[in-house]
Subunit: 234 residues, 2 copies
């Protein structure tokens, strides 16, 4: 039977063989939530890059440039890392280059996979439906925080594992644990998240509104995937 | 405030600074459960080593040698990795050298810590009481399975984090998540564990009795610690 596995941080990714697998990259707060929101609201394409320099270069060749480091917008760029910025009128129809502390790095570490998808609570149903019919094994890659485990990405991994349970076998204990956490948390996600380190970090930056937005389930019916260097919609 | 952190697998240990910290090594199935059982039942000292060769050498100089690889006893050694072997009359008063797939490696990766303790559900209360009064920060190091996350070690990390919550702050999301998992699982640990990959692996080897034994809470009032190369009791 095909299976689903969860990689809890990019620093454990060397333990996984990505060949012929579908990788779902998740960085709930906030990179992949932004990507889903932007593409669902008319952004033409998004190019994830690992460094500020690459992002700057693309800015110079006509891209809107979004850059976040340690939760805040980096100086000299057009946008930071809030989903609301990605829904702004001025972004519609545009191409966006983006670099973030964790999320874009996770994408660029997954390039040997057969297919790379972008997951968030915002498109949970769309991505589950898309994956249900696939024959390949799946790895959910949690972006984490600077190489460490984080709560919100693991909760998403748990929710996706739960959705796909009937069609995919759990490959190890990580999907099992993530699913248990999600089932405990799902009826009151916000209060469950309030003690998480990243929510605390962001609360200091006044982005509680972003968190409330990012934990909404299945409000967008889109499946972003990496095509060449760009994220587009299926 | 002093804090407690959880390292989910030894492959993430490079992210943690062990200096001046107390590390609690845990490998519930079954290395640290064996160590606690043995020392509580009269084993004189236990020397954890990383390789079969080192274990053999100590066997040649008078130690009882316990060696496990992939869940089974390695050929040519006196004992495997069952807690019941460590309670046998013939082990009383003896010195034991031990190497296992995950647990002894985790101990030997922690040598830069100020103090290394051996934790298991079997001595949960004793180790919590001992740690409550310490001033140092604590890292619970889960031995995992071949570098990957596992359920039972994380559940122990969660139980210890829960016990120490009043006296230690959670350093990141890992203790938070581990505690949530433990609180979900604690009233029916055996059925919660039945789907775990290691329990399945061991069930094939007919050691369900070992699992039932290892998930008992606080039946031994001992705190094993590393002194030089040996595990002794506080």
């Amino acid at each position: 039977m095909k299976n689903i596995d969860v990689c809890l941080t990019p620093e454990l990714l060397h333990q996984y063989d990505l060949e012929n697998k579908i990788v779902v990259v998740v960085d709930i707060l906030r990179a992949t939530s932004c990507m889903v929101s932007g593409l669902a609201n008319g952004v033409k394409e998004i190019v994830p890059v690992s460094t500020l320099e690459e992002c700057k270069e693309l800015q110079n060749s006509g891209y809107l440039a979004a850059a976040e480091r340690n939760g805040s917008k980096a100086e000299g760029f057009d946008m930071g890392n809030s989903p609301f910025e990605y829904m702004d009128e001025k972004v519609k129809g545009q191409k966006v280059a983006v670099t973030t502390t964790n999320g874009t790095l996770a994408i660029n570490k997954s390039l040997s996979a057969k297919e790379i998808l972008i997951g968030a609570f915002l498109n949970l149903k769309a991505i589950s439906e898309y994956l249900k019919n696939k024959e390949e094994d799946i790895i959910v890659l949690c972006a984490g925080w600077k190489g460490k485990f984080n709560l919100e990405d693991t909760l998403f991994a748990g929710s996706l594992s739960h959705q796909l349970k009937g069609d995919f076998e759990f490959a190890c204990d990580a999907p099992l644990a993530a699913e248990a956490m999600y089932l405990t948390a799902k009826n009151d996600m916000m209060s469950y998240m309030k003690d998480s380190s990243h929510a605390k970090r962001l609360a200091k930056l006044n982005v509680v509104k972003d968190i409330e937005f990012c934990i909404q389930e299945s409000i967008y019916d889109v499946v972003p995937y990496l095509s060449g260097k760009s994220l587009l919609l299926k």
